[in-house]
Assembly symmetry: C2
């Protein structure tokens, strides 16, 4: 049965094992990830891909800083845009190749994607999302003087925190929908989308980063997607992680997942669990959190943490 | 009469009067340019936009250099990709706004676009396209040691030269065509497209920049575009520029334009003239070279240097 599937690729799909985001490391990780994605596409499903961009934006911020005396720095919305295109065409090159090797004629496209956020989102007054590299206090101070917010993170040094507002609407949803309907595998809303707020008759970018899993849930809902796959570096969501009672969650519901959410603190699993729950609560058939190499099994319903409205 | 029109925006559509490519300068220039574009869209034409990216890529190269000791530099194909997204969404924000103000409901989209080039293009062995900033000899030498090619340009210093291979095919043509057919104003092939060469079953990026006007001619031909507008900073192509015989060319043919081409040396007018000639020779009805503020007049056929197969 042909289904519409949105796959949200985590950092490990596009950075080296050490989190490195060199061009070579990114290409190698994407090439590996696309072998898994190609299996799903080749099975005949409609596939939309979205992806994270944390380490990549981190690199761009360093370049901004170190060249600021020669070249005007660009804001965060521009950094997000930059990574949409570089990761997008890297995914296309790798996926085109993987599909061709399988004899699958499906084509790919990357759509630059803006995500509307609320200018009054609390994140703008109390930013909480850490991004970029750690710096010693004296260097952080120089950037604080430029208007950035940095926090003392202890032994590792200071780190910039920025707004991570709720995604309200994927502005460029319709071209994505049109291309999916034409048979394209579409890369969209990378890095959660370029954050924009209303401005007169249109929109303008803002200094923020949107959580890519929360935007993925929104995109999956609005594209009437059957399955949302959140691909990360673990096979399952775990309870009691690191304790003798540690166990993999194989099937669950949004309500039970939310009960567990407190356990995940503010770590990277938190937004994944929240995104999975939101998608199913909004009427999506299933959300699956699993590792990259198990995407095809997840889509087949035989692996991963599968979230549905009620366990069957 | 509704026609399909490709508008190639020159550097002055997205940089400050001094060539500056700060975020504010780019936004201001794009906002102004989109007022002209909106008139054409609002008249009911199908419009595809492409754009240059020279100063923007120049900025990215400086960042690459100055942060190289901390962050791995990215190759030119990545820089081109980065500018497709930043300029693309800046255009969308400005055009969405300009269209909304006119009460025009047309929507916009930006497609990340790869352009296939020949790995044996002579440009790769004898690069001729100067990019980025001038540097003193000692700084240039460090970059030469990294494998880059720099040339002594006299009083202003040394400058990097790179391959500018012939565009052979716009790889991501089909999604552009599909979105145009759905009524979108599509931004595509920015900076001439991300240069890629065949690699196994797929494609890989290469260190090069493709001339945006030559790619525009290819894109216009393959989209069966009626009119190619090359928008730049002069109202007309001139003959005898700076002499008492200076005159604006208002109507001409590819053959006569080619006869004049030698006069333009290797300056920025040369590829514009070549692109206009190629498009008409390939069967396009008309190519028009004019200034940004006269785009609408050009489309109406009342202004600019109009190139057709035979003068009427």
């Amino acid at each position: 049965m042909q289904r519409r599937i949105l796959i949200a690729l985590g950092g490990n799909a596009m950075t080296g094992p050490d989190g490195g985001a060199s061009v070579v490391a990114q290409q190698a990780a994407v090439t590996e990830a696309m072998k898994s994605v190609a299996v799903v596409v080749d099975a005949g499903h409609e596939v939309v891909l979205t992806h994270g961009n944390g380490p990549q934006v981190g690199n761009l911020l360093v370049k901004n800083e170190l060249a600021a005396h020669v070249v005007p720095p660009v804001p965060l919305d521009w950094c997000v845009a930059q990574t949409q295109a570089t990761i997008g065409f890297t995914i296309q090159n790798a996926l085109d190749s993987a599909l061709h090797e399988r004899g699958c004629g499906r084509r790919t496209a990357t759509v630059v994607t803006r995500t509307a956020v609320d200018p009054d989102d609390p994140g703008f007054t109390l930013p909480t999302k850490p991004i970029g590299r750690y710096l010693p206090a004296d260097q952080a101070r120089l950037l604080i003087e430029l208007g950035q917010i940095w926090q003392d993170r202890g032994a590792r040094g200071w780190r910039r925190v920025v707004a991570s507002p709720e995604p309200l609407r994927v502005l460029d949803l319709e071209p994505v929908r049109a291309l999916v309907a034409e048979g394209y595998v579409v890369v969209a809303a990378g890095g959660g989308g370029i954050p924009v707020v209303p401005d007169g008759a249109g929109w303008r970018g803002v200094e923020a980063v949107v959580d890519k899993d929360l935007t993925a849930a929104l995109l999956a809902r609005d594209l009437a997607t059957d399955t949302l796959v959140i691909a990360t570096d673990v096979d399952h969501v775990m309870v009691g992680f690191g304790t003798p009672e540690q166990a993999a969650i194989t099937r669950t519901t949004p309500a039970r997942l939310r009960d567990l959410a407190a356990e995940f603190g503010s770590g990277s699993m938190r937004p994944k669990v929240e995104a999975a729950a939101r998608f199913v609560e909004a009427g999506g058939r299933q959300a699956i959190i699993t590792s990259l190499r198990h995407i095809a099994d997840a889509v087949a319903g035989t692996f991963g943490t599968i979230v549905t409205a009620a366990d069957d």
